[in-house]
């Protein structure tokens, strides 16, 4: 059995007296469709930051395709195949989607330090930009500054950007967050159409989305992994229901 | 050598009073005010002019050296500064540099470019000898006055309700005003006190630096900034320690290695910033 695409081993993160992440271990297999759920304050964001390298763990390790990347900075992990989207869009406001994607592709191809040729003059890159724009329905807005795009399109670009890095593992942080009703199904369709070989870990509050998308669910509560398993089992689990009681359960 | 230490401490205390206002506005109000030196200049001029042209006694001029810059400070704060409280650091820096560039020619225009001297009264001149250690009387006076000012400031900020309200307002102005704190007035008073302290410092410094002239704000701007950088703006204690350290280093440096000159304080600043770039401005470092 090959190594998991992404693995956390005994991750611990303390902030002063607070233990945000408490001995979390789990694995995401290649091609997985896995979701991470948990109530507010469970520590999902901290966990993502630990996995992506934005934050260093107090203890434990992060492995990418079997290799220990705990000591690597976040941009190096991206180069090893770990990409993410942000819960709040992190885009380039004055660059167009085409330019943003072109940049991501360029960097991935190792062309990022070219200082002489005009960006976009390499034909292969143009083809790839075109393909991503089409896949995410961004062709009509490809040359407009990102900040002028409707929120739903921005969210799609957020995902497209991560995909432009051709990751082996993709962490999606609440991709549907804040997206108006009319534009939600675009997001859902985009998620469904993600390449099969990419391992995907989805962090979400939206249970509809989770149960439609994931084949495996991990539940994080107060920094600890409560349980893991198939959607049906998780949905039926008493402990999980108990945790969500008292929370407004938005479908 | 002890003399040098004491001289350094005196210089440090002076720097403290001069820079404390800047430390307060930076640390407590999140505003970078490079024009701070201009208020010091005003204070220095007040003392010099009152003494030289009106024959006023030195001690009497000191409260006015505090008050007049404080009033000017409030006026400027209400009209100009408050528009930039949320602005980027670069904007604040450029704005206050602009003010300094305006203040200096104004001083030049009205008062000429010759330094205005402050002639200390006889009871403040001369030296005292303690067990073979010499210290100028004026230096002792500076240490005393600045020490009192420092203590007063600390008590004011920490022990009084005003201080508590100020800290609350800085942490979250909206919440504070929601709780009934008059944030506007708070900032105005704080700015006034900071400017007033600068003025007092300027008046005290006049003798030490050889008179007040229009280039004073720019010449010492960097020094003030270094004090705030090294001492941090997390409280009066930090600023005090920073100032003393700087004062001693500067005096000792110039005495023992004259060819270094001001280099040493710039060096210390850069090193401090390398080692603790976040920590020194932890309170105000939201950018």
């Amino acid at each position: 059995m090959s190594a998991p695409a992404l693995e956390a081993r005994g991750l611990v993160r303390r902030f002063g007296g607070l233990t945000a992440t408490d001995d979390v271990s789990f694995a995401v297999q290649p091609g997985a469709r896995q979701a991470l759920i948990g109530p507010n304050g469970a520590g999902k964001t901290t966990l993502i930051n630990l996995l992506t390298g934005v934050v260093k763990p107090s203890e434990g390790a992060v492995l990418l395709q079997g290799e220990d990347v705990t000591a690597l900075s976040s941009n190096k992990r991206v180069r090893r195949g770990l990409a993410r989207t942000f819960q709040i869009n992190q885009l380039f406001p004055d660059m167009s989607p085409a330019e943003s994607l072109g940049l991501a592709i360029s960097e991935r191809l190792g062309r990022g330090r070219d200082f002489w040729r005009v960006a976009g003059s390499r034909p292969g890159i143009v083809d790839e930009i075109e393909e991503l724009l089409a896949r995410f329905g961004l062709v009509s807005v490809m040359d407009q500054p990102t900040r002028t795009l409707p929120y739903g399109k921005q969210r799609l670009l957020e995902i497209a950007l991560a995909l432009a890095c051709k990751p082996k593992v993709l962490l999606l942080d609440e991709p549907a967050a804040g997206v108006p009703e009319e534009e939600r199904h675009d997001i859902l369709a985009a998620l469904a159409a993600l390449p099969a070989e990419v391992a995907i870990l989805l962090i979400e509050h939206d249970m509809d989305l989770v149960f439609n998308f994931a084949t495996r669910i991990s539940v994080l509560v107060a920094g600890r992994l409560l349980c893991e398993g198939e959607p049906a089992a998780i949905a039926a689990d008493e402990r999980v229901r108990a945790v969500y009681l008292g929370e407004d359960a938005h479908g | 050598m002890l003399t040098i230490l004491l001289d350094g401490i005196a210089y440090g205390m002076l720097l403290f009073v001069l820079a404390s206002g800047l430390s307060v506005t930076l640390g407590l109000m999140n505003f970078i005010n490079l024009a701070h030196g201009a208020f010091a200049m005003v204070g220095g001029y007040v003392t010099a002019l009152l003494m030289n042209r009106a024959g006023a006694p030195f001690l009497l001029t000191l409260p006015l050296a505090f008050l007049i810059p404080a009033l000017i400070g409030v006026a400027l704060e209400r009209t100009l500064y408050r528009r930039l409280y949320g602005a980027s650091p670069l904007d604040q820096v450029l704005f206050s540099i602009g003010l300094v560039f305006m203040a200096m020619p104004i001083a030049n225009f009205f008062l000429g470019d010759q330094p205005q001297q402050v002639h200390l009264p006889p009871w403040l001149s001369g030296r005292l000898e303690f067990h073979g250690v010499g210290i100028g009387v004026y230096r002792l006076f500076i240490i005393a006055v600045c020490g009192v000012a420092a203590a007063a400031l600390q008590i004011f900020l920490v022990k009084t309700r005003f201080g508590a309200r100020l800290r609350a307002a800085v942490d979250d102005a909206r919440v504070a005003s929601g709780l009934g704190v008059d944030v506007d007035r708070l900032f105005a008073i704080t700015f006034a006190v900071g400017s007033g302290l600068a003025g007092l410092g300027g008046a005290l410094a006049a003798d030490v630096v050889g008179g007040i002239d229009p280039s004073f704000p720019l010449k010492y701007m960097v020094t003030f900034l270094i004090v705030v950088t090294i001492g941090g703006s997390n409280g009066i204690l930090g600023a005090l320690v920073g100032s003393l350290l700087l004062g001693v280093l500067d005096v000792a440096g110039k005495y023992y290695v004259p060819s270094i000159g001001a280099f040493i304080i710039y060096f210390v600043m850069v090193v401090t910033l390398i080692l603790r770039p976040q920590g020194l401005f932890a309170r105000g470092d939201a950018r």
Binding site: N75, K76, D94, G102, D114, A119, V126 | G98, P105, F109
Partner: protein, 335 residues
Amino acid sequence: MSAAQTLDEKAKLEAHLRRHERWRWSEIAFWAAILVLIFALPSRAGLLNEILIAGLFALSLDLILGLTGVVSLGQAAFFGVGAYGAAILSAYGLSEPTLGLLLASALAALLGLATAPLLLRGSDLTRLMVTMGVSLMLGELANRNSWLTGGADGLNIAMSPVLGLFPIGFTGQRNAALYSFVVLFLLFVGARRLAQSPFGLSLTAVRENRLRAGALGISTSRRIIGIYALSAAYAGAAGALLAQTTQIVSLDVFDFHRSADVMLMLIIGGAGYLYGGIVGATVFIVLKDVISGATPEYWEFWIGGLLVVLVLIGRDNMRELARRRIKTILPGAAK
């Protein structure tokens, strides 16, 4: 989606990505105009030279501030190193200007490389302080080491003709302006290409969203160090030009005034589209010339006033205004 449509789209896409590549007629006119002025106003060659040098200096700041979003109040450090570097080299026998220029810029670039790591941590305020501190330190060092720098008296130098052919001494004022023009133009072309390259695009990304740039695999620290070193080289070149064309260097090259003035020039002209530095330098120096004629001692007052007004109006507002007006004329390389 038919094949023809996709092809259409690709063409449109490529055209969009390369939209700033071709030089607009307005840009060509801009440079031609400067060249014409140099020949048409030989008596003002000194002033034009000053503008060109300041323009180059401001361009160096645009590379870090406008393009990459890194603030600095210490460009004077590199300007000074370039100036003294060229002067000292010439004093020790290397009096051919172009070689001196290259070496002096390289020296400035090394200094930039060495001090760049200081910029990476901390806030904007830290950066402003550190850069200011470094340039003041250098100024102080220059002051104290008068055996090398001439101290408060400065250095007087004599230059050989450029490339052995064009004298730029006191009799060659117009040649000096031409020399500065050529250097500025060549460096500008380089900067323009750089800004439009993938590297330049990554710097824009660092400016617009550093977090995201890192999340795309960009090693933001290294890019910043790289562009800082380059901008130091440009500033050093400007300093070297000053030394070589005016034949004198003094301690004021390290003055805080220099860093503040160049910042102001860039703000007046607008940061981020590469032409702002030259435009701002022109406005600044011409104004200075005019006002100094009337009230020399109070020039500083008006500069201060201008700064205050500009900041109160808002640099972003200014930039928007400028971008809309000037963009159609001089798109330069910014997006």
